[in-house]
Point group: C2
């Protein structure tokens, strides 16, 4: 080529700068321009909750390289040889003429930029519901630096005593800890029956209970109706009640920015995001898209999905750059892997939840495995609750969820690798994972979980979910709810309606149990429960089921203290 | 079957109890007996260094279930319905008669136990070199509870000021932290040129430097010759010097206990451990073996190997039990995944080291990636140094090593999953791993490492190892050793013989560099180094290489402070 390739990138937050940097690395004399409507480039939006909390001290840290250099337009020009037009909006694409119209926000001038390849990295914007008085002061989203500054100011002035977070998704929940630490009374309002829709109900309930133990009010199944106030927000009105509020954070989701693409008649996917092929190419072969504005595909089901994440944006940016520069690179898809810190809990998930798998038509077996995340005799060991979702027929792992103070992120990453490579639980159970007492139990939690699934698949263990048990208890059904823990454990915490026979005594007390009634057996984690069920089965009791996850994963009320 | 199946298990530490418990779960009326020569069953030998240090307070914790029940012979009988003969040694196998001769240590009576299936879980014993005076008092191995008690007693009496650990392997290094905390002066004596033989040299050197920074003397390439002392050990004599010692821990490895198997003419593998097939069956179809007494196979190369670990023993135990009970289960092999806490460093590895891969005939590319293990703006982020070994032809990941205070165990487990499923670095680079600032950077460390490998495989980056650079520096070769960090970073720590041109200034100062000489460029982690190399290449410099891992992974001396 005699003329250097012209690459115009619309959007300068995550995917855009990644494309720019990588294109320059591959073709150093490429003519690369980033068009960014805001001032800031390449900042870590996912760090905002930690800036609000003060964990991250300076705004500048969110837009610096790991060695502390601020990634501003001068940096991009000098270091990366990338031209940056900030405060500039792309307003129109002329696909025939291969040029983009841009408007400079400072002087309102318009001009055209020619391109050989155009990249849309226009990101997403928070969804704001069109409800009465949503524009009152002190109602924020937590999307940009500007929101973070607004919230920080209120906090520093002690003007945010009552905070309502609308939406029990990632961003909402992630902000909660910071607010509680600042002394705010926080209420989460979620329309659905649970927070974290990507988790199964019982796992989400365990997270809700943890939040409530830190003083957060979680109102699920609650619909937002309006806001009230005089200039500033004072009340949040739901279909259930009126909540006092001096600060509201709306975090009900992100919507892809696709106006530019839609106006240019590029194809939009069923999720509302820009449709791209595996090469991240839009329906115009000279236009690519990446990041929060594009539709992804679910690696397992092949279905289109919209999962905006900074990690995905970065990977896609590299794929775009490789393809622009003449290589053939693909982005295979996502599993919806997610992790979130909720006070001292790590909440993480990947692949399909049980409910999503069933909706997709899979016949599944689930395994619950609560256990210490390190050798149990180490004082640093912390409880970790795992749930696996496994396809019955193929024995393949479909999904995994984790909650608790233990290292859930590690096990969910391992699960993501297993799902990506199509592993069965049998293969997973023999994975050679690292073992030493400060890092894992001899049988890693995920291996134990895989073995629980195998026991169920092979018919040795018949499980019953805590939800089903709770329902039959409520209905007053006649069955034996058998706790096989020790009296000391029983004294500490127990479920109502249970019969206590410690596992060690069970063989000698079989005559106390009726053979004609159903028996649901459990212990702390349902390992002793499983052993008890096998003893009962061998003794001729044939209606025995083990309650999944034991008392550790019981998502309803418990009794505690001496009786 | 009219008669219950008789299963005799020789060995009650890890694999043995696992087999017993699982057999009873599958066939509740099986007649299962464990023969154990010691007193204790099912104890966590790998917890001993933490018992010595006091992190684990009570010996009992090492032999308890996670809910605190001691796994003694009464427990096994009552809860598991397993008969335990402790203080009992198996002395002979009569394969034709299908019976085992046992001798009770208390009353020295001998008797025979009939079996349908026999399981050898005889474990391993620490190797003790036959050197002069090796039987002096206060020379221990760290293998059993008895050793741990002996060492603890010396420590509590302040009688172990100078400690020599013989062997720079896992057990030796794991014990070091405890001893230093108790105020001991610790010296490690290792015959090979590095500690941790399963790591590549430069990674091991980084670990050695870390130990030295905590006051541990590491003497590599040093051969033990004898011990001296009057009743108690006083001196350790090596081929280099005489070391004062009031406590010696010999940790040069573990040797499988195969006498019983060898006497019964069962096949022994090339590693000296009992040979088993994938079903964990020995050369006698009614005799199985599992745990530290058996030979494994390397999942990647198929070669026999001996990697005694509690995690492997547990997995194998389950496979043995399944096969005994009529299922068909296999143990696929190991990758030598290992993790070890060395003060505040996590040292971990899986698969083939570079040196092992080259020995095996693989043509490889390596990638070094030092980076924070969480979003760099989080105060909880800690440095993590990763090295990947990748097959050039297939682009498959062959091995990974990690060191540093960051979460290496997580990344090595991810790598183990990638290797197990035969992933290329291209696939690994797009893995959907969990991202949130408290858990990982947006581009996870292992994804960055995979991308470094891809850049090398695709010819964009030409690397040079720090060892090669160090050697040419020593030889006084004429080349430009170009540091592209900032002056502030240079002030803090630097390598000798370098030229400093910060990356941001490089494009304007190209004329200061000679085109005819080789240029080796680096920065803190060699990302800016890579960018600099691309700038130089584009400007017509064609002898440019990037030093792998930058200053963060330089295993030799550094200069620091103002010049």
């Amino acid at each position: 080529m005699s003329n250097p390739m012209k690459v115009v990138i619309v959007g300068g937050v995550a995917a855009g700068p990644k494309v720019a940097a990588k294109v320059i690395r591959l073709i150093p004399d490429a003519d690369v321009t980033i068009v960014e409507k805001g001032e800031f480039l390449s900042y870590a939006g996912c760090g905002l909750p930690y800036y609000v909390s003060g964990v991250v001290k300076e705004q500048a840290e969110l837009m610096s390289t790991p060695v502390g250099v601020i990634r501003d337009s001068v940096f991009f020009q000098k270091v990366k040889n990338v031209h940056v037009l900030n405060h500039t909006e792309a307003t129109k694409i002329d696909r025939v003429g291969k040029r983009v119209q841009v408007r400079n926000g400072s002087n309102a001038t318009e001009s055209w930029l020619d391109y050989d390849k155009l990249v849309l990295a226009t990101g997403g914007d928070p969804v704001v519901p069109s409800l009465p008085n949503v524009k009152l002061e002190n109602i924020f989203t937590l999307h940009g630096v500007h929101d973070a500054e607004g919230i920080k100011t209120l906090l520093s002035q002690n003007k945010a005593r009552d905070v309502v977070i609308v939406g029990g998704g990632l961003i909402g929940v992630e902000s909660t800890e910071a607010l509680v630490e600042k002394g705010c009374r926080v209420t989460i309002v979620e329309m659905l029956p649970q927070i974290f829709g990507m988790l199964d109900w019982e796992i989400a309930k365990l997270v809700e209970q943890h939040m409530e133990s830190h003083g957060v009010k979680v109102l699920t199944g609650t619909k937002l109706e309006s806001f009230e106030g005089n200039g500033k927000v004072e009340w949040v009105v739901t279909d259930q009640s009126r909540l006092s509020a001096d600060l509201v954070i709306i975090a009900i989701g992100v919507r892809p920015n696709v106006e530019l693409a839609r106006d240019a008649e590029l194809e939009i996917g069923t999720t509302g995001a820009i449709k791209v092929d595996q090469h991240m190419r839009t329906s115009d072969p000279d236009i690519y898209a990446a990041g929060d504005c594009v539709e992804c595909h679910d690696l397992l089901t092949g279905e289109p999905c919209y999962v905006p994440l900074g990690s995905t944006a970065n990977k896609q940016g590299r794929v775009v750059a490789n393809n622009i520069c003449g290589e053939s690179d693909i982005f295979p898809g996502v599993l919806g892997s997610t992790v979130c810190k909720v006070f001292d809990y790590c909440v993480a998930r990947t692949g399909l939840s049980e409910k999503a798998a069933v909706t997709q038509g899979y016949e599944v077996v689930t395994a619950m495995a609560p256990a210490p995340d390190k050798a149990h005799f180490m004082p640093t060991a912390k409880p970790l609750l795992l749930k696996l979702v496994v396809e019955k027929k193929s024995r393949r792992l479909l999904g995994a969820q984790a909650t608790g103070p233990g290292s859930g992120d590690k096990r969910i990453d391992i699960a993501a690798m297993a799902i990506t490579s199509g592993m069965t639980v049998d293969q997973l159970a023999n994975a050679d994972l690292c073992y030493a007492p400060p890092y894992a139990p001899a049988m890693d939690n995920i291996i134990t979980a895989a073995n629980v699934a195998r026991n169920k698949l092979d018919g040795y263990m018949v499980g019953v979910s805590p939800m089903e048990v709770h329902q039959v208890l409520e209905e007053g059904a006649d069955f034996v709810f058998l706790d096989v823990r020790s009296p000391a454990e029983y004294e500490q915490v127990r479920l109502s309606g249970t019969t206590l026979i410690p596992l060690g005594a069970l063989r000698g007390r079989l005559n106390e149990l009726p053979k004609d009634k159903e028996i649901v057996v459990f212990c702390k984690i349902s390992l002793r429960g499983y052993e008890a069920a096998l003893i009962l089965k061998a003794a001729g009791f044939d209606k025995v089921r083990v309650m999944d996850g034991g008392i550790a994963m019981w998502p309803f009320e418990k009794e505690s203290g001496p009786q």
